[in-house]
Amino acid sequence: MSFWEKLSKLPRFWIYLGLLIVMILPIVLKIKAHPKMGLETRLVYDYIDHMKPGSVLLMNFTYGPSSMPELHPMAKAVMRHALLRGVKVVGMSLNIEGTGLGLDVFNSVANEFKEAGHPLQYGKDYVYLGYKTGYAMVIRGIGGDFHETFPVDYFGHSTSDEETMPLTARIHNYDDIDLVIDFSASGSGATWITYAYQQFNQKIAIGITAVMGADYQQYIRTGQLVGLLNGMKAAADYEAAVAKLMEKELHYTPPPYATVGITAVTWAQLYLILMVIVGNLAFFMIRKQQRRRR
């Protein structure tokens, strides 16, 4: 058996083991990527960066634990950025799985600001509304009457109480929301475009898993989206940029996640390309050897 024949019959176990090593190394060695921010990500970053202090960002969480590695660090980075710019953040969820994950994003970012010596005030700086059933009806409902759609927040506080919840008390419909950003592992981005943008002309950005990236890029050209955060690459770009801002303005470094993860993704992609080349090479070499034997 020639070298190429042995190589083509290499058990899958060794290929998986190689992949595992290639992925673990950058995580263990904490090799951070310094990616150049992509255009679609920069559009979202610039939009939030230029939002006036006091304006409102509505974050929607429509993803489950299976999409956490891509969307969770992305959502945290966006929330950190908004709060650094004095933008008020309201969170909600259109699916059950996303409810707890959204709460985790809000709690962990609030804790980071507390650790950095800039505690945030619930009800004034940020509010978490939680889950509301109805999907498209909820998106449409916010455009009609925000308080009717969300009479209470996740913890049961009245959203129209001006004393304890001044942030939500002043929101009546989309006119009072400057940007909606939907973090989704499903088609909810299209639902936001269909109802909130088409009917109410609401500015929308979306954060999605890389699987869905190609389906949403055309919405940027048409102006239906202000920008798009696509997969772990966008999460790493945004996380790195916001980490620099936090270090500069709050002297606090948030924990890296996507910036380390994207290095592992890059290494794994290179490994995959190498395997494809080697596999093809082995195939052609074996065919050549067989022809010679004949």
């Binding site: 263990v28 999409s67 009917q199 190609a214 050209r221 048409t222 772990m232």
Partner: protein, 237 residues
Amino acid sequence: MGILHWLFSWETLAAFLTLAIFSFLYKENPVYRLAEYLFVGLSAGYGFAMTYFLAMKPNLMDPFIIPIMQRMHLLGGELLPINWWYIIPTIFALLYLSVITPKYSYLIRLPFAFLLGLGSGMAIPRAFQASILEQMWDTILHSPNWQGYADLSKQYEWSLTVVFISAIIIFVSVLAVLAYFFFSKEHKGAYGKFARFGIIVLMIGFGASFGSTVMARYSLLIGRLMFLLKWLHIVSY
């Protein structure tokens, strides 16, 4: 004590279940099955509990069912007001259960018809506008507009020439893909070559999607690996 605490923690259980699922890479085994069944059961239980407390309780039980039960002395506590309007959605919801009895199963058509009518009425015009008309406008009408080019050039930080070439590529590619799916004319000669270009464009699109999908799957694996390494105290993030 530290090791025991670590060994009997929720993180250890999560790590065990993660490794149990990964064990499928070797071959199907009882540990994998256990983790799979546990996942399905827990997901169903969690989904039901969350649906009840976050959807059914505030939208049906609290405003309608519980106040009625209080008045029937089946439940105690401070009397809650009855919102009689909720009787309509409650009846509609109950009609879904009519499917259990063959005699009355036709009644399920009522809530179905209502939902389908409402959903279609709301979605079709706006989805058509959002996903077809706006995209057509961008491909056909927007592109020859010089101001549109200038705006895109500014947004993408590309030169006007690049934006112009990009617009032509998109326009020709869309026509070629449409030509490929136009089966009333035989794909022969110049038309056949144009349709062939259409399938190449489609393949490029599928290739880009596949590349992104692979990257997304790696990201998910990395998420689990980072969790396992954190569980083993090898990394701290």
